[in-house]
């Protein structure tokens, strides 16, 4: 499978996430679109790791090239889980103060 197919797929998923962040006002949907972007990047990292592994395997059969990328994906998932817990706590706190999950209420952070 050519690497370009994977790049195009991940770019499309990432752009859908970007469009969601730009067009929706519900804070939870915006947050879910950020998760979508993180997952697109994870998939691209795994595809690149297998590309490098395939190239290195031709030289030596017992290579471990590309394993770093998969560890990296694992750490991205760890950080995303911590981020989601904090972010949802902030959204719940915002809802309790304003009775709305409209992100335009966060305008008041400006002044």
């Amino acid at each position: 499978m050519p690497i370009e197919y994977y790049i195009f797929l991940c770019l499309m998923l990432f752009s859908i996430g970007v469009i969601g962040v730009l067009t929706r006002r519900n804070a939870i949907i915006v947050f879910m679109c950020i998760e979508l972007m993180l997952n697109a990047v994870n998939l691209l990292l795994v595809a690149f790791s297998k590309m490098n592994y395939g190239a290195a395997k031709l030289i030596s059969a017992t290579t471990t090239a590309g394993i770093d990328a998969q560890i990296f994906v694992f750490f991205i998932m760890v950080v995303a889980a911590a981020e989601v817990s904090i972010g949802l706590a902030i959204i719940v706190m915002m809802y309790r103060n304003t009775h709305s999950i409209d992100i335009n209420f966060l305008n008041r952070l400006k002044n």
């Binding site: 499978m1 050519p2 690497i3 370009e4 197919y5 790049i7 797929l9 770019l11 499309m12 998923l13 752009s15 859908i16 970007v18 469009i19 969601g20 730009l22 067009t23 929706r24 006002r25 519900n26 939870i28 949907i29 879910m32 998760e35 979508l36 997952n39 994870n42 998939l43 795994v46 790791s49 297998k50 590309m51 592994y53 395939g54 190239a55 395997k57 471990t64 394993i67 998969q70 560890i71 694992f74 750490f75 998932m77 760890v78 995303a80 889980a81 911590a82 981020e83 989601v84 817990s85 904090i86 949802l88 706590a89 902030i90 959204i91 719940v92 706190m93 809802y95 709305s100 999950i101």
Partner: protein, 166 residues
């Protein structure tokens, strides 16, 4: 067209359609369910790439834990569907145009780049995605970041409790 390509294109189409449905669903609960389908299709891609550990972790952590947290928060808030604020139409249109031009720009850049041409991804072969090599690497080379991530989780837990208590 062999079976791997059919699986690749089917999973890709499924992922993209579900991702679009996340955006255009009016009900947030439907959005969460569509996002779970996106995560399942991405897990299918991981299995296709023989990254079995990441496929299982993706299902357990994302589709299992994080999405249940989202569902729990949405149901806790009980947001009315008709009360949900909408952006004006021209703001939405500008957002779609901006995202579309971002996508076009990146696709043009990738197509121009010669270092990606003729490179292949190794499907369904290779053992670097299995649990044994990943575990060996995680507990030898990456043991310090692994322990630091446990501290990160502890601080995230304390932070979430403190934010939620007020």
């Amino acid at each position: 067209m062999n079976i791997l390509e059919i699986l690749f294109f089917a999973l890709s189409a499924f992922a993209i359609i579900s991702a679009i449905m996340v955006l255009i669903s009016k009900n947030p609960i439907h959005s969460v369910l569509w996002l779970i389908l996106v995560f399942f299709s991405i897990s299918g891609h991981y299995i296709l790439l023989n990254a079995q550990f990441l496929a299982i972790v993706n299902i357990i952590v994302y589709a299992g834990a994080i999405m249940v947290l989202f569902l729990f928060v949405i149901m806790l808030m009980n947001v009315k569907k008709d009360k949900e604020p909408q952006k004006q139409l021209w703001v939405k249109l500008i957002g779609v145009i901006a995202g579309g031009s971002f996508l076009t720009l990146l696709i043009a850049l990738v197509k121009q780049n010669t270092s990606f041409q003729g490179r292949d991804v190794l499907l369904k072969e290779g053992n670097i995605g299995l649990i044994h090599p990943l575990g060996v690497a995680l507990f030898t080379d990456y043991v310090v970041p692994f322990e630091i991530s446990s501290v990160l989780f502890l601080s995230a837990m304390v932070g979430a409790v403190i934010i939620g208590k007020k």
